[in-house]
């Protein structure tokens, strides 16, 4: 859990906060968990990811006092290691392989790093509408490929 949060938030101090927030939420919402609607692990990670996304999107992030907390791994490297970490045998890996590089990276950046459409468009220097349409086409291909 901490690994997922740290990769997304790129700060180890914030990652601990996110995991703690998520565990407090899990504790409070334990009664809402319905095994018929999905796995417990999925539920746990969804709560964690949502917490990380809220932290990423909010402006409340204070400047860290400790440079050691900051993950300085370049973004392309983070994406490549997430993609490379997928087992070749998984459907997701095989289906991501079939997408063009920029679309694949855009989808990975949103899931792994929590990037918004706007941030991805900014990085690729492309209009927002183009990025949205391209990612939706990519997601459609993934759905078809994985179904």
């Amino acid at each position: 859990m901490l690994g997922v949060a740290r990769r997304m938030l790129r700060r180890s101090d914030l990652a601990e906060d996110a995991v703690q927030d998520a565990l407090v939420l899990v504790w409070r919402r334990a009664g809402q968990f319905d095994p018929a609607r999905g796995s417990a692990k999925g539920w746990l990670y969804t709560i964690l990811r949502n917490r990380c996304l809220t932290m990423l999107r909010s402006e409340e992030r204070e400047v860290t006092s400790d440079a050691a907390d900051v993950d300085v791994t370049p973004v392309p490297e983070v994406l490549a290691s997430a993609y490379g970490g997928l087992d070749d045998a998984t459907g997701l890996r095989q289906c991501l392989d079939r997408l063009d590089g920029p679309t694949r990276d855009a989808i990975l950046a949103s899931y792994v790093l929590g990037y918004s459409h706007g941030e991805i468009a900014g990085r690729l220097d492309s209009p927002l509408g183009t990025i949205k349409a391209r990612m939706r086409r990519g997601l459609l291909k993934l759905r078809e490929c994985l179904s």
Partner: protein, 235 residues
């Protein structure tokens, strides 16, 4: 622009691209419609392998203490779910409760990770994992104070025709085994028995293969499928 269909919305919620309004809308739809909930779960499962590619991080020192400090706050009905008021939590900090909450929090977490539902109506008094001769887990036995015993088979044992699984316990370690009943149709079952003392930790449980109808001597005669001693669950 491609059409903003339900499936696009679900994907974008899972990836974290959707607006708060769309996330809330999808939450409501999934709560009302199991078909939407199933689509959402399927989309999450599509991307879940990426969660496992993050490098595992050791928990920093003091993590559990900091967490238990935060859990030490009453669960008020009006408490906002998304906002954790740290100052408020710290103000209510009571040191003596830390250890208890820590143990409970760790248990809750482990329970979820193991995929067990926490919604069992009455918590068992003792829990036993029955192992076979090679150390493989055969069954989980949960025993209530009144000796209502739920046996969950963890694998399908090979029961020869004309034989049946019989469940035994030894309420008195020095005394004879007592039959709790038969798993007549070869599947997981809840057995009830009267007249026994409440089960305790270290109590022996076992499943043996007996002739159809159960052991003729009312004592185990056949080979042992699984055996184990009870533990107090941490609840």
């Amino acid at each position: 622009m491609t059409e903003y269909s339900l499936e696009v919305m679900i994907d974008e919620v899972v990836l974290g691209l959707a607006s708060d309004a769309d996330c809330a809308k999808l939450d409501r739809m999934a709560a009302e419609d199991p078909a939407v909930a199933a689509l959402l779960e399927r989309a999450r499962l599509r991307f879940a392998p990426l969660d496992d590619t993050a490098a595992p991080q050791p928990l920093p020192e003091g993590f559990w203490n900091r967490l238990t400090d935060r859990l030490d706050v009453p669960d008020g009905p009006a408490a906002p779910a998304e906002i954790v008021e740290l100052d408020d939590v710290r103000a209510r900090l009571a040191r003596w409760r830390r250890a208890t909450y820590g143990a409970v929090a760790a248990t809750v977490l482990l329970a979820f990770l193991a995929g067990w539902s926490l919604l069992t109506p009455t918590p068992p008094l003792v829990v036993t994992v029955l192992l076979d001769a090679s150390g493989g887990a055969v069954a989980l036995v949960e025993s209530a104070p009144d000796n209502t015993t739920r046996i969950t088979l963890l694998e399908q044992p090979a029961v020869p025709s004309g034989q049946v699984m019989q469940v035994w316990t030894k309420p008195d370690d020095a005394g004879p085994p007592v039959s709790l009943g038969l798993l007549a149709d070869g599947t997981s079952e809840t057995l009830t028995i009267r007249g026994l003392t409440a089960p305790t930790a270290r109590q022996l449980y076992e499943i043996t293969l007996e002739p159809a109808g159960g052991s003729p001597t009312n004592l185990p005669t056949g080979p042992i499928l699984g055996v184990g001693r009870a533990n107090d669950p941490v609840i």
